[in-house]
């Protein structure tokens, strides 16, 4: 295990090196650019598999496997800043998810972006993103995690705005960056507060790390504003970063706009990995979040997640862009993950993250395939009947949809969503999140079925063709995973749970019946089929007839308008925060133009005045004085030289006079 841990840093560094080299390439070298992205990530995948194997092996021997490696970054005064990486089950699982799905998406991109002229740049940025994301995963220091967090944000900006010539894409990239940045302010504050109390930012440090027993209990014992435990307050601040990055309410506004980027980007970053980083962060600092008798932070997480889940699902019902529906679906599912973390713990949330990564990536890649096949069309009302024209895509997409809705027993989404609902049902604080979760499940089934009806059923409105194998093969692989991964976390054999917590498990079929599992499963199944059935009835007909207007719009025009308008949150923000910001910017501009510029000009003028004065003094006093002196000397010399007229006789006279004077001096002096 230690061998792997020593070389764990290669996992992010290899893709980074590939991206660095790729940046130096000429535009024509497409194959090399793709190879420089796919190759290193493939190697990272192999290393991640080795890491997983190592943890399994080690875990079998000694319970929970965890190994760290630190180094000192710099020292100031007495304190030092240490960075490092950690290998434990959480890390291993996340590494595998990121590298596996990442690799599949990279391969998919070679076909999807084949006609784009900036192919090389795309793969360079993808490699950079992969490196930063893997950095977040392996980091043992909150500081290093934050650094990679920001780098991931940068990569997201670069990739959303990949087609920056389009003004909407450039605006979306800016919006994403700024919105996540707002969350990061909370993150930073939490980090600073934590550092102030603990003196270190390492997670695991031989007993002194911030997630280890001694520090956690110490922080939980201290109280702060409103009687809250210090650990809860810090955790809430850290969660602000997760709100921004994972698109929770109220900072969800950037995620749908981020669909301006190419579809592989949406699949990788805004479905499977980057947005999951927020969930990962909560999972990582879970010991801190859950410390103390009344962990207030977990309550906040649960409520935010639950509300987001329902909110986003409502909006998704009224959207027409295929990617936007999936984006809101992602927001909703992230809410579910947060709810799972808050009510059930790390394993519940992480399990849904893992299954979601697979089927959401599948759905996005499938959507990309559909868009590619329809020649760039993204409006579902203009698609139709693709079931017959793109059968492979349809099959994979259907698997993904069923996994997302949570069709029972076969598909992974069922098991993971159920785990969440189960733990929400048994939440001691309140039952409302449970009901919100159930409502969300209903809506999820509803809008996904709507999407299927519009895209794949009805008469074909466009001329479409199946996608090349480079695109359909990853789809197939992901579809298989979307089914198989679910079996890792069933109550019968909770491998996922035991892997993450280190406790041993056994295969026990009876577990399905105990602990209130079965009622929840039955309820969720009923809700899913109800939603799907209703949607099929409503949209199945219109799919075959006209699709100019949505039936729901006819039924409830005002409600529909609200949903389609995304509850006008963007407009609200625009009218308040953005306007305030613009006003402040205007004030800053005025300050700069008049006061600061004025001050600078004043200084400049003063300097010029002094220099002018200096010049005058130099000319008048110094030059004139000196010249005058020299002139005086010259004139006096000239006047004196008149005595020397070259006439010897005058000299003789002068000598005689002088001689007489001397003589008299001698005579009278000696008397």
């Amino acid at each position: 295990m230690d061998f792997i841990v020593k070389y764990l840093w290669l996992i992010p560094v290899l893709p980074l090196a590939g991206a660095g080299l790729s940046a130096l390439l000429k535009p024509g070298q497409r194959r090399l650019a793709a190879a420089l992205a796919i190759g290193p990530l493939g190697l990272s995948l192999l290393l991640s598999c080795a890491a997983l194997a190592a943890t399994l092996h080690h875990g079998a021997e000694t319970g929970l496997a965890r190994s760290t490696q630190d180094f000192e970054w710099f020292a100031f005064g007495q304190s030092t800043v240490r960075l490092g990486w950690v290998l434990d089950p959480l890390t291993a699982i996340m590494l595998l998810v990121v590298t596996f799905i990442g690799l599949l998406i990279f391969i998919y991109s070679t076909a999807y972006m084949a006609e784009d002229e900036h192919f090389g740049r795309f793969f360079c940025f993808l490699g950079f993103f992969a490196a930063a994301m893997l950095g977040i995963v392996i980091s043992n220091s909150l500081l290093l995690l934050f650094v990679c967090w920001e780098l991931v944000g940068l990569a997201s900006y670069l990739l959303i705005g990949f087609w920056f010539q389009k003004p909407s894409a450039a605006a979306a990239a800016k919006k994403a960056f700024i919105t996540t940045r707002i969350g990061d302010v909370g993150f930073l504050l939490g980090m600073l507060w934590l550092y102030a109390h603990s003196g270190t930012l390492l997670f695991y440090d031989g007993g002194h790390g911030i997630l280890e027993q001694s520090t956690v209990t110490h922080l939980a014992a201290l109280t702060t504003i409103g009687g809250m435990a210090l650990s809860s307050a810090i955790s809430i601040l850290l969660f602000c970063g997760a709100i921004g990055k994972s698109g929770q309410l109220p900072l969800h506004v950037w995620l749908p706009d981020a669909m301006e980027g190419p579809t592989p980007v949406s699949a990788l970053i805004h479905a499977a990995t980057m947005v999951a980083a927020g969930v990962f962060l909560v999972a990582r600092v879970f010991p801190l979040m859950s410390a103390g008798p009344h962990p207030g932070a977990l309550e906040v997480v649960t409520w935010v997640g639950a509300l987001t889940a329902v909110f986003a699902a409502c909006i998704a019902v009224a959207q027409d862009d295929i990617k936007r529906i999936l984006a809101y679906s992602t927001v909703s599912q992230l809410g579910y993950m947060m709810m799972g973390l808050g009510t059930g713990g790390v394993a519940v949330g992480m399990f849904h993250l893992t299954t979601h990564a697979f089927f959401k990536a599948l759905l996005f890649l499938g959507a990309g395939s559909v868009i590619h096949g329809c020649g760039g069309e993204q409006d579902i009302r203009k698609m139709g009947g693709l079931r017959k024209l793109m059968p492979l895509t349809f099959a994979c997409y259907a698997v993904g949809t069923m996994a997302l809705c949570g069709i029972p027993l076969v598909f992974s989404g069922f098991w993971s969503k159920d785990a969440i609902l189960h733990s929400a049902r048994h939440w001691t604080v309140s039952q409302i999140p449970f009901y919100l979760g159930v409502a969300g499940a209903f809506l999820t089934a509803f809008y996904m079925t709507r999407q299927i009806c519009y895209v794949f059923y009805g008469k074909s409105a466009t001329h479409a063709h199946e996608s090349p194998p480079a695109m359909t093969l990853p789809l197939a692989i992901l579809a298989v995973c979307a089914i198989m991964v679910g079996f890792l976390g069933t109550p019968i054999w909770p491998w996922f749970d035991s892997y993450l917590s280190g406790e041993p498990i056994s295969f026990h079929a009876g577990r399905l019946l105990e602990d209130g599992q079965l009622p929840v499963m039955l309820l969720s199944t009923a809700v899913v089929f109800a939603g799907a059935g209703l949607s099929a009835w409503v949209y199945g007909k219109s799919a075959r007839t006209s699709r100019a207007t949505d039936p729901l719009e006819v039924l409830q025009p005002s409600l529909f308008a609200w949903l389609r308008g995304k509850f006008f949150i963007d407009e609200l923000y625009d009218a308040t925060i953005v306007r305030l910001n613009a006003a402040f910017a205007g004030l800053a501009r005025w300050l700069d133009a008049t006061i600061w510029t004025g001050a600078v000009n004043l200084v400049a003028r003063l300097t010029r005045a002094i220099s002018l004065l200096d010049r005058k003094v130099d000319e008048a006093v110094i030059n004139q004085g000196f010249d005058g002196g020299c002139e005086g000397l010259r004139v006096s010399g000239q006047w004196t030289a008149q005595g020397q007229n070259g006439q010897i006789q005058r000299y003789l006279r002068a000598i005689a006079v002088g001689f007489c004077g001397l003589l008299l001096l001698l005579i009278w002096g000696c008397r």
């Binding site: 005689a656 006079v657 001689f659 008299l664 005579i667």
Partner: protein, 188 residues
């Protein structure tokens, strides 16, 4: 013993001749007047029992210096400018004043000093043999130095006064390389 009868007339004559040498217009007259002054001085030396000096004075000054002056006057004819021009430089009043000052400065101390009112000791001789002996012993170095000086003066005077406009005659021996004739134009 120097006698008053000899000295005072001679002194007066010598002074007159000197004044003449300095005041006369005709240069030759000046030269001759100077010669007369020198002669007067020689006679005063004879009166003072310094016979050798007196004769040396005659030989050198009258016989050489005065002649030389005459030669020079004759060689530099026509250099006096227009006849009407003054022989004295302008500002002669200042010059006379300075001369008067000088005379006063020289004479007054002499007249005011009592030790100078003495009369001559009875006898004093300057035998030539003694002069010769002194020259060869005590004043050997000044003698040799004077000889050197005279040689230098002789050579120098010849070179300074050499007329460089005359062509140099060719050497007698034809085998020796020819020297280019030195034709130096004197600026006019």
């Amino acid at each position: 013993m120097p006698s008053e009868l000899v000295f005072y007339p001679l002194a007066a004559l010598t002074l007159a001749a000197a004044i003449g040498a300095m005041a006369l217009r005709n240069l030759v007259h000046c030269a001759l007047s100077a010669a007369a002054a020198f002669t007067g001085l020689a006679l005063i030396y004879l009166d003072l029992n310094a016979e050798f000096v007196g004769f040396a004075q005659v030989l050198v000054y009258v016989g050489a210096v005065a002649i030389l002056i005459v030669f020079t006057v004759l060689l530099t004819r026509g250099a006096d400018g227009p006849w009407r021009a003054s022989a004295f430089s302008p500002g002669w009043v200042t010059g006379l004043a300075i001369t008067g000052l000088l005379l006063a400065c020289l004479v007054l101390p002499v007249l005011m000093s009592p030790s100078l009112k003495r009369l001559a000791p009875p006898s004093a001789t300057a035998p030539v043999a003694d002069i010769g002996r002194q020259l060869m012993t005590r004043y050997a170095l000044p003698l040799e130095t004077a000889g050197l000086l005279l040689t230098a003066a002789l050579v120098g005077a010849v070179i300074i006064a050499l007329d460089e406009t005359r062509p140099v005659p060719p050497p007698a021996d034809q085998s020796l390389p020819r020297r280019k004739p030195q034709l130096e134009e004197s600026p006019r």
